[in-house]
């Protein structure tokens, strides 16, 4: 009985196609866009050509990069705070049904209240000279619920025989949490994080639109500013950067998910049947 597990070479051809195909579609789209806009003579304040947008991006490179950095850091900080807060609260909820019953409805209320509607209030509370903090709080509010609800579900979904086994070995609550519940909940937590990553970007941008006073310097403000001056190419450049940021966040989250689950979880494992 000495069979050994067999290693398969990765499917490189498929991996390359997975990246190349969407890129090809994007390139074709841009070329068609360019041709249509130039041949039909569409005014640039309606739909600028891709080349014009590129020029706007290069021309305003440092101010746009500064805004990108601002939005990125707000998003990432809000996201990290949401992960810590969501997981911590879920762990607390998992310890006692009573705590969960008492507090979960309030978490839901926070979630279902549209962030746009509470943004002015938060901005007034923290003060106009502190808009960044307001953005952080608002982005956090949006991002934190998916983590909380997913982690709570994950911690509750532990294989009950495994739990029984831990009980038999006299494991403490903490050991049950760290050895069984948490690893078992990881796929749920990562799924929540994937949603939250996108949501914290949305939260950061929407909050900045509401704050919209010039006190903040994120990408949303660049969009408002460009809109006010009818500088549509610059608006598209900012918009493009925002999309790139969103894709980046999604990509990083997917990578983390894959790395964490590739050995065991159905979602990340390549089936061979």
């Amino acid at each position: 009985m000495s069979e050994a597990p067999i290693q398969h070479p990765p499917d490189i051809y498929g991996q390359v196609l997975k990246v190349a195909l969407p890129l090809l579609v994007g390139a074709i789209f841009l070329i068609v866009w360019q041709i249509v806009v130039t041949t039909l003579g569409v005014p640039k304040f309606v739909l600028p050509a891709p080349t014009l947008i590129w020029q706007a991006l290069i021309g305003n490179f440092w101010s746009l990069m500064g805004s990108l950095w601002f939005t990125l850091t707000v998003t990432v900080e809000a996201f990290i705070a949401a992960v810590i807060g969501g997981v911590a609260l879920a762990v607390l909820f998992a310890q006692s049904r009573w705590i969960a019953t008492a507090f979960f409805p309030y978490a839901v209320i926070l979630q279902v209240t549209p962030v746009v509607s509470i943004a002015p209030l938060i901005i007034i509370w923290v003060g106009y000279d502190n808009v960044r903090l307001a953005l952080l709080i608002l982005a956090w509010l949006v991002a934190f619920f998916p983590i909380l609800s997913n982690t709570t579900l994950g911690l509750r979904s532990t294989d009950h025989n495994l739990r029984n086994l831990m009980q038999l070995y006299g494991a403490s609550r903490w050991r049950v949490l760290t050895e069984i519940q948490f690893p078992g909940a990881l796929p749920f937590i990562l799924a929540g994080m994937k949603i939250s990553g996108g949501l914290s970007l949305i939260g950061a941008v929407v909050a900045e639109f509401v704050a919209g006073s010039g006190a903040s310097t994120g990408l949303a403000w660049r969009i408002i500013e460009a809109g006010n001056r009818l500088d549509i190419p610059r608006m598209f450049a900012a918009l493009g950067l925002l999309s790139v940021l969103g894709i980046l966040i999604f990509g990083v989250m997917s990578l983390i998910e894959y790395l964490a689950l590739r050995h065991w979880h159905e979602s990340a494992v390549r089936r061979e049947n």
Binding site: S2, E3, N164, L165, L168, E179, I180, G184, V269
Partner: protein, 269 residues
């Protein structure tokens, strides 16, 4: 209740001191199913007891209750020889092999078997030779680094068995551990289990569907009937250990099998 060999007959040295006693144990699940009714049983120190019965007669339920998993609806289970904690729970060291493999899918085979030792605060380095030994016993010495999803059903079960034995428990509860295995592996593990049992003075409670397996392994077979689950016969297998293939081929083995089969049939009609 029909007694083929009354408990009181303490011909075997094993029954001298009961280590677990069940009195009028009844279990009704939340949905109203009465899985066990009025079960009386005394398990002797170092006894190898098989629980045999048709599917759904409450074997798993009984084993879980003995392990202290789940509430008893009526009656009581005592561990007369075991020290108790301040909260009144027996401080036994139980090894439990569930009917399903019950492995951690995120951990390697090595880490799955390591779990009980880890909970006892043994370091990986200290545990490594013990784990290697246990994996060799179940024929998985090359699979320490594999994940459960890479194993067949029978291999997963063998990991689960290795984990159950790793702490060298004084009481070993096994729920149909070999049901998913091929005959050859099963026979080998049967012999390994008997060898370990003889060396360790364990008490083993072994749930099985198989008349043949129970006769080969046990010095006592408790036959259970269904609806509601209850003990219908208690048969002693007076055959010295170590047992070997020769016992399987003997006429005494056949006689015991016939006796146990008859008892089982009686409960099902």
């Amino acid at each position: 209740m029909q007694m083929f060999a009354p408990e009181a007959a303490s011909a075997s040295p094993h029954t001298a001191k009961p280590i677990i006693t069940l009195n009028g144990v009844t279990k009704t699940y939340g949905n109203g199913t009465t899985a066990l009714r009025d079960v009386d049983l005394a398990i002797g120190q170092s006894e190898f007891v098989s629980l045999l019965g048709p599917s759904g007669c409450g074997k798993s339920t009984l084993l879980r209750l003995i392990a202290g998993l789940g509430e008893i609806s009526a009656g009581r289970i005592d561990w007369p020889q075991t020290a108790h904690t301040a909260r009144g729970e027996p401080e036994h060291d139980i090894g439990f092999v569930f009917q399903e493999p019950t492995l951690m899918p995120w951990a390697t085979v090595f880490d799955n078997v390591y779990l009980p030792l880890k909970l006892k605060r043994m370091s990986r380095r200290q545990a490594a030779p013990i784990i290697r030994d246990a994996l060799t016993k179940v024929g998985l010495e090359n699979f320490g680094k594999a994940y459960p999803r890479e194993l067949s059903g029978g291999m997963k079960m063998r990991v689960s068995i290795a984990r159950g034995l790793i702490t060298r428990p004084s009481v070993l509860l096994m729920d149909e551990p070999f049901a998913a295995l091929d005959e050859i592996t099963r026979f080998r593990l049967n012999d390994d289990l008997l060898a370990m049992w003889a060396g360790q003075h364990w008490t083993v409670i072994f749930v099985t569907h198989s008349v043949y397996e129970s006769v080969y392994l046990s010095d006592r077979i408790v036959v259970m009937g269904a609806r509601p689950g209850r003990v219908t016969a208690d048969i002693r297998i007076d055959e010295p250990y170590p047992r070997s293939e020769a016992f399987r081929l003997s006429s005494r083995y056949n006689d015991y099998c016939r006796l146990v089969s008859a008892a089982l049939h009686e409960t099902m009609t």
